[in-house]
């Protein structure tokens, strides 16, 4: 771990029990994140993005079938903490989250200022007056007019409610903020406003972000690095420069080709077929059924391979991978 390293997720697994069988929503997910860095997690609906966020933040439903792996925060494996310790030392304090559709789940009978103050009062024992001072500071950061502290959620536009939800995730000054689809339900101008807010916070507060989304164009507004998820697994981890220029994994390539461009004459193409069921995912590469490059080896599960600092779960890169390994072994 470098001294800038903040988070290291290792072989994280989260399965759910359902009447139809076990849903393998998060399957041995591994990635790392540095301080001040923003990682985007991209993937189609149902691929396990929200489940991954919940697994990191240990916000688990009752029907968990399997939950294991490691989550190192600084140097502590928080998976080893018991629930009480986790709540006291990690959630809100080190990691906070803006859940999917947060702007629609603000409490309708509480003034938004009181709602934003709440985590500080309950988790840090801050008194009401100091908490409200901090709330005002955060409202300034995210661009909510100060007199809105006394308003109710229904009196605010969608964009303003989303800013309030972001302010709430910031009040406890966590090291890491998880954002689950923070702009998907919003208009372009509101989206651009929210992304501007996040860019400013990232710079001013040296905060780290994990931004979960299926909106590829918008994700490039914040990303330092990109992780692509497919059917419960990470299939590529790349720098934003590499990824948006030319990703490695066949799925990532098709995903990029499906984005309609405003400023290029490139007709978007869709990916034929559907992702596999997470109830009984295929044995080999999970993308094989939709992949134009498939060959014999693909009937076995490819590992996440390191190719010159970029990680990809695809047999096409095995040769590259072997070469780099051989070079390292020789050196």
């Amino acid at each position: 771990m470098t001294d800038r390293s903040l988070l290291r997720v290792q072989d994280l697994v989260l399965y759910f029990r359902t009447s139809a069988g076990v849903v393998q929503a998060v399957d041995k997910v591994t990635f790392g994140l540095e301080r001040g860095e923003a990682m985007v997690i991209l993937g189609e609906s149902g691929c396990g993005k929200t489940s991954l966020a919940k697994a990191i933040l240990r916000l688990l439903p009752r029907n968990v079938q399997r939950y294991d792996g490691s989550v190192f925060l600084d140097d502590m494996d928080v998976m080893r903490l018991d629930d009480d310790d986790y709540r006291r030392r990690v959630r809100w304090i080190k990691i906070s989250m803006v859940p999917q559709a947060a702007m629609n789940s603000l409490n309708p009978v509480l003034k938004v200022g009181d709602q934003v103050a709440e985590p500080m009062i309950t988790h840090f024992g801050v008194n009401k007056k100091d908490a409200m001072t901090q709330v005002r500071r955060m409202f300034e950061h995210v661009g909510v007019p100060l007199d809105f502290v006394k308003r109710y959620a229904f009196e605010l536009s969608g964009g303003m409610r989303q800013r309030v939800a972001i302010a709430m995730s910031l009040v406890t000054s966590p090291d890491l903020i998880l954002l689950d689809e923070p702009t998907s339900a919003l208009d372009v101008l509101t989206q651009a406003n929210i992304m501007n807010v996040l860019k400013r916070i990232k710079k001013d507060m040296d905060a780290s972000f994990i931004l979960i989304t299926h909106d590829i164009a918008t994700s490039s507004e914040l990303a330092d690095r990109v992780a692509v998820m497919y059917a419960g697994q990470i299939v590529e981890v790349d720098t934003a420069e590499h990824f948006f220029d030319e990703p490695l994994h066949p799925y990532s390539k098709k995903l990029m080709a499906s984005v309609p461009r405003l400023r290029a004459d490139q007709e978007p193409e869709f990916i034929v077929g559907q992702p596999p069921s997470l109830l009984n995912p295929p044995k080999g590469c999970r993308f094989a059924e939709r992949c134009g490059f498939r060959f014999e080896q693909c009937s076995q599960e490819p590992p996440l391979m390191d190719v010159e600092g970029r990680q990809v779960r695809c047999w096409l890169y095995a040769e590259e991978f072997e070469k780099v390994h051989a070079r390292e072994a020789g050196a």
Partner: protein, 343 residues
Amino acid sequence: MSDSTVVQEQSIDTQDAGRSNGAMLQIRDLRVWFELRRFGFGRAGSVRAVDGVTFDLAHGEAIAIVGESGCGKSTLMKTILGLYQPTDGEVAYEGSAVGKLGSLGLKQYRSKIGYVQQDPFGALPPFMSVRAILEEPLAINNVPARERGERIEKAMVEVKLTPVEDFLGKFPHMLSGGQQQRVVIARAMILQPGLIVADEPVSMLDASVRVEILKLLRALQASHDLAVIYITHDLSTVRYFSERIFVMYAGKLVEKAPVLSLLRNPEHPYTHALLAASVDPDARNASSLREVPPGEPPSLVRPPSGCRFHPRCPHRIEGLCAEEEPPEFESRPGHQTACWLYR
């Protein structure tokens, strides 16, 4: 002769105009206001959701209407569908005013327009099978029972819900988002309409499924010579889909232009703002802030005087924009902009 002069001449007698220029749909100075609920005495005012909209739609033409949430897009569509009565102005279909149709005429008219409504996940009744969902409009329109099976199968093949037998008995929750949306489109197509109104048909779907559904709609448009009105707030999808774009702001169409003309030479400051805020995927996006006009869309109960965009406009002309409402100016053939900068 420019298009705008044609428009002015036709508005003198709409009933004949439909026949004279062959437009399928003519919207003339349409206003749809919702009265606010009153508290005590006096009137609380109205929400001017659509406030003076004029355009023609040709047979087989695809247009897109782009604008922010709440600007009146759905209200405009529902009025075209005959679900809302105009407060003022007119919707004419093939030369006859929709407002003057009797109940039978209105039923016939509605059967000629397919509606793909906003929010695919709420659009389908949860306890009906695909077969029952597709049969309903046929039954309502007295299609004989023995013809229905064939019509249902044909519509399903057209939207690629195949093999048909696999899907007929399924209920909406058993289908993916993209498949649900294809059922919605099959339902809109089943009475063989001449016009499809698609209200944000793909905004809830993944990028790849979005492209799939839009391509499907476009293929249907070409093969059936369908006219399509596509409503969205996402500018990046329109160029692959429609021939003209209308930009809507606070109840009004502020710019109407052919797609490439609008994307290459946008005119209205609001259109500029929408384009500046829409990005293509690019790692360099992260190192700069987007330019966004200050403030939020105005109240439609008491909209700003003059140009409705003036409180947010960086090019506002003092003494003019806040006082007088800009008419449409035609700077290039077929490209109309309601902004004083183009006078």
